[in-house]
Subunit: 289 residues, 2 copies
């Protein structure tokens, strides 16, 4: 595994790879790896000839009150984990390489960046879209790998890739979970032990929602009420939102049908956790065939 | 010359070209060619192996009160002119190819998009940056050719290319002028004959400004006053703005030094004309060496 910090150097190496007709899989991350990141790397290794992983804690996607400064960073640990996954290139750009003096350009994926998490984290998805566009122009991958845990990020980046004609495929990999169901996240390390014990209620509530939807409950209001009630009764978590939306457009659904995303954000103490479940319901047939 | 309308088809052809190690020069246009466009094509032909010219009248860069509908279009004339310049590929995407249903993504180059023309054409440079980013992702050129007449467009697109790490060079080609000095523009055809006779005052005023600056007048206020006075006395043009700014940052200069852009926008009847001159003044030496 090569660790590369310079854009010029990375491009030189990747141009050689591309000239040989090899395909490139790309996993953008903020580091502090867990099984979720590793599963993206494994998928990239399976699908493509060369796996590039980037680590960059992107200041543009943190709000002024958020945890940019204390976001966990451990390059030694990360590079040893990536090496075990046979990652080919670890790209670790420094800050002044990414946002040089006089930086001015931002990408806005309208509407879908404003809803769900976007309501509470203004500017977050603008920061995400911008850094990913930059990294795509640097790496020029054939396939971009994203984790399903960040469902809104998936929707925003898929829309950006489609709208700006980035010539690549986006592949979404299932959320990795702890044994008790808690979605893996670099932020789980912030949780106090009490909160850590309570946090799996999020997954239990989402699983319960899936079962209800599958057995015929298609009222968004009822599903949301059930989730909220479970979280309130079984934990001290403070709900920021629970939403039932279309997976791609993120438009609110009143009646659940088609590609459904049930997503939530809940605070345990100061730690904000997100999780979601995707359900596909086939529309009722209009005619007999 | 091939005329291509489909993105998939264009990519297929250009991938073959790239695989042979050939370089691609790209000239994005809104069509209705004049000598200015042709000089960009000639430069691309000189510098690179394959010249791609796009024609697309981009709705996203026109304001609601602007001339999108009546903007001149003549593909037959344009393709015959491009053929004479030995353009290799003319890319003429249709509207639904470029902005598909549910389009959401826009690129904003902050600050420098808001000044000069941007003050009077809100959203214009967002539309320009967005369409050019899309075209760059479709064409993947080695060199992007832009005309100096649109000086703010040059500054905005150079900033975007730098900030978003597009792996290409930007080459700016000098403004082409009519015999009497009027900068060539597809919009000149709108001019009534009386206004057409008066319009060269813009160039005369800019030339006079250049002479004054070169002979030691470094007060932006005095230069602007001279330009405004010339235009008012020698024409019926209505001035929208006259500005002295830094060529790249577009920041207002009070004292003229370094890379100076003197730019103006003037209405003749309903037709808005822009023009500019770039002057380089070496900063006065601080010490004797």
């Amino acid at each position: 595994m090569r660790i590369i910090t310079s854009i010029t150097q990375l491009r030189k190496v990747l141009n050689q790879v591309r000239r040989k007709g090899k395909t490139i899989g790309f996993v953008p991350t903020m580091g502090y790896f867990h099984e979720g990141h590793l599963s993206l790397m494994r998928q990239a290794k399976r699908d493509t000839d060369l796996c590039v992983v980037s680590i960059y804690v992107n200041p543009a996607q943190f709000g002024p009150q958020e945890d940019f400064k204390k976001y966990p960073r451990d390059l030694k640990r990360d590079s040893s984990m990536a090496r075990k996954e046979n990652v080919d290139i670890l790209f670790v750009p420094s800050d002044n390489v990414i946002y040089s003096e006089g930086y001015l350009t931002y990408i806005d994926v309208e509407k879908i960046s404003q809803w769900l998490c976007g309501r509470f984290r203004p500017g977050h998805f603008k920061g995400v879209a911008t850094i990913v566009a930059k990294l795509l122009n640097i790496v020029w991958p054939d396939v971009l790998y994203l984790g399903q845990k960040d469902a809104q990020q998936v929707a925003v980046l898929k829309a950006m890739v489609r709208d700006l004609n980035f010539p690549l495929k986006v592949k979404v990999v299932a959320t990795k979970r702890e044994a008790d169901g808690l979605a893996m996240s670099s932020r789980n390390k912030y949780l106090l032990s009490d909160h850590r014990r309570q946090a799996p209620v999020l997954y239990r509530a989402l699983q319960q929602a899936r079962r209800m939807v599958k057995s015929g409950e298609h009222s968004s209001a009822k599903i949301k009420a059930m989730i909220q009630s479970m979280i309130k009764h079984q934990s001290s978590g403070k709900i920021q939102y629970v939403a039932c939306v279309h997976t791609d457009t993120l438009q609110e659904l009143k009646t659940l049908e088609g590609k459904i995303l049930i997503a939530l954000a809940v605070f345990f103490g100061k730690t904000r956790l997100i999780d979601n479940v995707v359900i596909r319901l086939h529309a009722r047939k209009q005619h007999k065939s």
